[in-house]
């Protein structure tokens, strides 16, 4: 199941409150999603998930006929589609963390629309590896094809190494936002951040050489001193 572009993803919203569903629908439509389905109960969610095979599920932890945790278990018997949990209780947080969510994520009510669409986009990109428009990251004249890892538009075409690819996708998932060195080390070295900070700097310098026309005066891949890095958006934010 390949989603070339996150907004093409088929979504299933599961929440028993019709008003909240309507709001989620309008937030997601506003963000560019079009293929959105709704369910009010766990039973209806199972039926729709089986029939429609959504690419991602937005799931309220508390449902009138069961909780989201057991529904996740049932969903997992036939689909690996990522789940974004909605929770209204702090007590859920421990359980959600304890799930070892993997590709899945959770968001605590109340949330801002932007927070929801950011999380959902990140979850989809993590699962389906799509990177923005058509799997391509645009940095001014330079483009990076995230399907092949090929950088073009900056001299001769060059290919990203595995670490550079992991770092760039982590930054791109949070484009416009600061990603801490810890999160970057996590993305590239699977959790061991100790002693990798110098190595991280080396990888970042090499990544800059590939994607920045003038690596010593970067325009997109910005260092946030003492914190991490930020991949600026096209509009410079």
């Amino acid at each position: 199941m390949g989603v070339r572009e996150v907004h093409q993803a088929r979504l299933l919203i599961v929440d028993d409150e019709p008003e909240l569903r309507r709001m989620l629908l309008s937030i997601l439509r506003g963000d560019g999603y079009a293929d959105i389905h709704e369910a009010a109960t766990a039973a209806e969610a199972m039926e729709k998930a089986l029939r429609l095979r959504p690419d991602a599920v937005i799931l309220d932890v508390m449902l009138p006929d069961g909780d989201g945790f057991s529904l996740l278990k049932e969903l997992r018997t036939f689909t690996q589609a990522p789940v974004l949990f909605l929770s209204a209780r702090d007590e859920d947080e421990a359980r959600l963390r304890g799930l070892g969510l993997g590709a899945d994520d959770y968001i605590t009510k109340p949330f801002l629309p932007r927070e929801l669409t950011l999380r959902l986009g990140a979850v989809l990109r993590r699962t389906y590896g799509a990177a923005g428009e058509g799997g391509v990251i645009r940095l001014g004249a330079v483009t990076v094809d995230m399907e092949t890892g090929v950088v073009s538009g900056n001299g001769p075409e060059r290919t990203l190494t595995a670490k550079e690819y992991a770092l760039l996708s982590a930054l791109n998932e949070n484009r416009g936002r600061i990603v801490t060195v810890d999160a970057l080390c996590m993305a590239a070295w699977r959790g061991e951040n100790l002693g990798y900070e110098n190595t991280l700097m080396v990888h970042m310098r090499r990544l800059r050489e590939k994607i920045e026309p003038d690596p010593s005066h970067p325009r997109y891949l910005i260092t946030m001193r003492g914190l991490g890095y930020r991949l600026l958006k096209e509009d410079g934010r």
Partner: protein, 417 residues
């Protein structure tokens, strides 16, 4: 939590004092009843000596009782007799016909202690004879008490010990009940706060969602979008309040234990700083993070959510107090085996009243906040073995220094940050 324990101990002491006061009051009242009852019923008591002294012997050797006493005896339904040294009845008044007119030593010994044919009798020596006074059947209870002398001292001690043991049990039971009631009340309050905040969260999602949508709606005027932005901003403040309320709930009533894990405090600081900078759109509050190499390598056994909230509250506090803008600095360093975290700013600092409230361990109420934020900072620091101090810097601006975060250790191979 220490505050919790002290409160519980205080409640317990108050409960015990109340129970003791009640016990004393009830005992006094009962004692008063007993005294008044005994003094009321004691009037009917017959004093055998008075009647014995009313007997007199004339020249012929015949005995008579003074008329007044004789009348009184009859009025009480008593009878009386006088035995001579040989046990023969030499005088009597109303002596029942079925009773013998002479008594042997064994009979005398028996009735002088107990009863004579079910008549409760009292005796008094008159000369070498014995005066015997019988009260109506069933009117008097007689029992002989005898014990070895060495046991005499045992009974008061036994009584005192039993009293103390019973009082102890009673107080223990009272304390247990008081304690359980306090726990139940805490649990109820905690559940109530959870329930309220749960019920507020979903509607607030809708307020935030639609306000944010209106804020970006191009068909609205600039002023209308600003108004929507204000709704969104206030909604976010409410969201912060609910989060703080829940955390206070967690810390104060200790309903949920801390979820401790070994984490990199440096990573937590960077995460909090990045979160803040990602949201800080106006750029009026530049944030600087400084982490010493030793602190970088330190791992802290801590609750990620609580520590994150503490950092967020400290940074937001600086920002909220300085809407005109100020620089914020977060630093983390090692002090021996412990960690010191400080958040300072170049703004206008705390007011004297705020510092005083914070020093007393209360929240600092101010125009933009609800006062829970810094209280949470203090409680989270304490839950992690540290102590939060608030002060104004000589060069201007406010600072919070958290000392003594423990325990620390050098970074291991594997961390979960």
């Amino acid at each position: 939590m220490k505050g919790n324990f002290l409160r519980a101990a205080g409640g317990l002491a108050a409960g015990l004092a109340g129970v003791m006061a009640a016990v004393i009051a009830v005992n006094l009242v009962l004692f008063g009843f007993a005294v008044s009852y005994l003094s009321r019923t004691d009037g009917g008591r017959v004093r055998v000596s008075e009647y014995a002294e009313a007997l007199s012997q004339d020249a012929s050797g015949a005995w008579t009782m003074a008329a007044e006493e004789a009348e009184a005896l009859r009025g009480r339904g008593c009878w009386a007799m006088l035995l001579d040294a040989g046990g023969a009845v030499v005088w009597s008044q109303d002596l029942p016909d079925d009773l013998p007119r002479a008594y042997g030593p064994a009979q005398v010994a028996a009735f002088s202690r107990w009863y004579l044919a079910d008549w409760p009798v009292k005796v008094w020596a008159v000369g070498d004879g014995l005066f015997v006074l019988a009260q109506p059947r069933g009117s008097e209870w007689k029992y002989q008490v005898e014990m070895p002398t060495e046991q005499v001292g045992f009974w008061p001690v036994w009584g005192a010990v039993m009293l103390a043991a019973n009082a102890g049990l009673l107080l223990g039971a009272a304390a247990f009940i008081t304690h359980r009631a306090a726990r139940r009340r805490d649990a109820a309050r905690s559940e109530w706060i959870s329930a309220i905040s749960h019920d507020v969260r979903t509607p607030l999602s809708m307020v935030l969602g639609y306000a944010a949508a209106l804020e970006e709606a191009s068909e609205l005027s600039g002023e209308q979008r600003r108004q929507a932005g204000l709704i969104r901003e206030k909604g976010e403040q409410l969201r912060g309040l609910i989060a703080d309320l829940n955390l206070t709930n967690r810390l104060e009533y200790a309903m949920q234990p801390l979820k401790r894990e070994w984490l990199s405090p440096a990573a937590l600081v960077r995460e909090a700083a990045a979160n803040f900078l990602n949201e800080d759109l106006d750029g009026l509050h530049p944030l600087e993070v400084s982490i010493s190499p030793a602190a970088e390598e330190t791992r802290l056994l801590c609750d990620r959510q609580l520590l994150g909230r503490m950092l967020e509250n400290l940074i937001r506090n600086s920002v909220r107090h300085n809407p005109q803008g100020c620089a914020v600095r977060v630093s983390l360093e090692r002090q021996g085996r412990r960690l010191r975290l400080s958040v300072s700013d170049t703004g206008r600092g705390f007011s004297g009243e705020q510092l005083e409230r914070l020093g007393r361990g209360e929240g600092a109420q101010d125009e933009g906040g609800h006062g829970l934020g810094l209280r949470i900072v203090r409680d989270v620091a304490r839950a992690h073995g540290g102590r939060a101090r608030f002060a104004n810097l000589p060069e201007g601006g406010g600072a919070c220094v958290i000392d003594g975060l423990r325990p620390t250790r050098r970074a291991g191979r594997k961390i979960s940050s």
